[in-house]
Amino acid sequence: MSATGPTSETVGALPELGSVYWRPLASQRSLARADRLWTLSTAAHTLPFIAAAGLLVALKPVTLPVALVALAHAWIIPELYAARGANVVRPRPRTGHDAERRALGLLGDLVGHQARELHAKTGLVLERGRLGVWLLGEAGALLVRPGSRRVHCYCVKVSEPGLPSGDRIAHLLLALRADEAGFATVANLAFSGACWRLRRRLQGAQREGLKAAARAAAPR
C-alpha cells in the first residue's frame, strides 16, 4: 500500500482518482489486507451464531430448533454478501439494437479472439492484469486473485445513461488498461471471498466466465 493517497497527477494515472483522493492506491498488499478484513468480518458475523447454537444444544437439547435457526443465520449472512457481489455483474437492460451492434463491434476490436468468444457466451470480458484476472461486466468487475481461491467484486461503472452494453464494458476496459491500480482504487468493493461462494450466486452463463478467469489465475 502506498503511504499517501492516490493522485491523478501521477503520470498515466486515472483522472478519476482525484474523486477518491482519501483512498490508498490499490496494490497486492492492500488487496491481501482487504481479503483478511473480509474473512475476519465474516467470522465475526457467523461464529457467534455457531457458538450460540452449540451452547444451546449442550445446555438444553430441547432448544435444538432455536439452535438450527442460529446455524441458518450463520449460513445465510455470507451468502447474502456473495449475492451482493454477484449483483455487480448482473446484465442491465439493453438499448437499441443498432447501437448495441456498433458498440459490440468496437469492443470486439479491443479484445482478442478468446475474450470475444467468452463475452458472447457470458456477457463478461476477461482481461489479465497484474493484480489478478479481471472479468468486466456492464456495471462492475470481478477480480480473481492469483491462485484462484479468492475473488473481489467491484461496483464500478460509467455514469452516462443510455450507453449500450458493449460501450459500458469498453469504458471499464480502457480505464483498467490505462491504470489497473487506479481502476481498483476508484471501484467500490462489494464483496471479497471464496470463488466457490460467489459461483453459486452468479447466473448460469456467468459461472462459465468465472471458471475461465479462475483457470487463467491458477498457479502454473
Binding site: 498515466g12 451492434r101 458498440a103 463491434g105 464500478v156 461503472k157 450507453l163 458493449g166 460501450d167 469498453a170
Partner: protein, 74 residues
C-alpha cells in the same frame, strides 16, 4: 487513416479522421479532441491488447483515439 471516436448512445461516433501527412485534417482532429476534453471526456489510445494510455494531446501517429466518460464506484 487515423480516427477519433467517441463512445456514446449510438455505439460510437467518428468525430475526426486524419493522416499524419495532412496538416489540415490533423488540426481539425486536434480541435475536435480539445472540444471533447473540455466537455469532460477522457481520451485513450489503445496500445495493443492489455495496454492503453490516457492522452491530453492528439497523438498524430495513433490509429485510433477513443473518447470515454469518467467512471466511478457504484
Amino acid at each position: 487513416m487515423s480516427r477519433l471516436i467517441r463512445m456514446d448512445q449510438t455505439g460510437h461516433t467518428t468525430l475526426a479522421e486524419w493522416s499524419a501527412e495532412d496538416p489540415v485534417a490533423v488540426q481539425a482532429a486536434e480541435s475536435a479532441l480539445r472540444a471533447e476534453l473540455e466537455l469532460g471526456y477522457f481520451a485513450v489510445v489503445t496500445q495493443g491488447e492489455g495496454n492503453a494510455e490516457q492522452v491530453r494531446e492528439l497523438p498524430v501517429d495513433a490509429p485510433l483515439v477513443i473518447l470515454r466518460r469518467p467512471i466511478a464506484g457504484g
